[in-house]
Symmetry: C2
Subunit: 228 residues, 2 copies
């Protein structure tokens, strides 16, 4: 992907960090290396002591940026959804036809992630893998209602709502726009997981993409023929 804008910055709820990791070199290293480590060893095995050793810094210094690894995961996920939202808005902005617009939106939301050179300290491809493998754990908790109140999921919710709006614009009579939007976004993560670990449970693979499947699903349930 080409570097479209120099100065785009993903804005994240400041309750998710103690000190803004974008504000220092160490902060950026924490974000950068945590993505590599969580991707490598999984969220359960990952901890701040190991991260400190990896980046040649101290455990206690990392705690000055993030309260705990749960909040770091919420931060990384928010960043990812914010980044996707930006792609979505950018790609669909001046498409007048509602159907073409939705089609483009589904492509953005369900296609395999490519690297974005605008953010040097964040590997979006690995981050998308983290979202596939770990995002559910960030909300499948007993604290979800409080954390939702605190705005930890606003970007994700805004994204689902944007997609829901586009669905409504294609077919105002369709009774389940929000459910379809959440199914597309969550379902895409799930299908990518299945491709890697339970291939018998998905019809997708290297040739047949989740994007194809979800475009077919959306346009048929909306009773609109797919352009592609």
């Amino acid at each position: 992907m080409e570097k479209l804008l120099q100065s785009v910055r993903i804005t994240i709820n400041d309750k998710l960090y103690v000190k803004d990791p974008e504000s220092s070199k160490l902060g950026k290293r924490i974000v950068e290396e945590s993505i590599l480590m969580i991707n490598d060893m999984g969220f359960e095995s990952f901890n701040f002591k190991k991260l400190g050793q990896k980046i040649g810094s101290n455990e206690s210094s990392i705690y000055r940026y993030f309260e705990n690894k749960h909040k770091l995961l919420l931060y990384l996920a928010s960043w990812y959804w914010g980044w996707l939202e930006y792609q979505l808005v950018f790609a669909t902005n001046n498409i007048p036809d509602a159907s073409t617009k939705l089609e483009r939106a589904i492509e953005i939301m369900t296609q395999a992630t490519e690297i974005d050179l605008a953010f040097t300290h964040i590997n979006e491809v690995l981050l998308s893998k983290i979202v596939i493998n770990e995002y559910s754990k960030s909300y499948l908790t007993k604290e979800v209602d409080q954390e939702n109140k605190d705005g930890y999921f606003v970007i994700y919710k805004r994204l689902v709502n944007r997609l829901s709006q586009m669905i409504k614009e294609v077919n105002g009579d369709y009774p389940y726009p929000a459910s379809l939007a959440s199914t597309l976004i969550e379902g895409a993560l799930h299908q990518y997981f299945l491709i890697d670990h339970f291939s018998s449970l998905t019809s997708c693979d290297a040739k047949t993409t989740p994007t194809e499947y979800f475009k077919h699903l959306a346009f048929n349930t909306l009773n609109i023929k797919n352009n592609g």
Copy 2:
């Protein structure tokens, strides 16, 4: 739900337990109370020490039934999917029309769980809540491929495949039967979660059920008109 058969027993991979919990009173108490506790406090806060205190037994005794709480969760989930599979097979067994059969299958897979009096030590309603809130955690791990090889997910996979087969029988030309089946089953769990915690992200509620939504989705994407 009425008590249909006295002697049905859900058979679970014996690698999931050290000693069969169905083989003793203590074993059944472990299963029974763990369902209540995990539902109350969430899987993260739950542990064998607390469970031991609750059932007036010793932590070490529980370890003689289950290696760890991860395997207990896999056991409970397998039981749930096995139980659902039984419902599915029973309810669709002698329906000749493929479309009616699929419709009934989607109802079974997506409707709210009711208690089954055949299993006194298992509260299926609470167990279904555990599956909604915790099941993803059982496979979103670094060990998933090995555990899949060891057969820890066979019942779940068999269930998705049964549904996939029924989809094929309705429309043999549909290119994504496995993906649709996995989307319906995983998506139903997700929609129930959204109803409870992110109501703006779903079109379902007390009146509009996930079953309605998924029946509409399936039959439209298969280009078959819904009977209901």
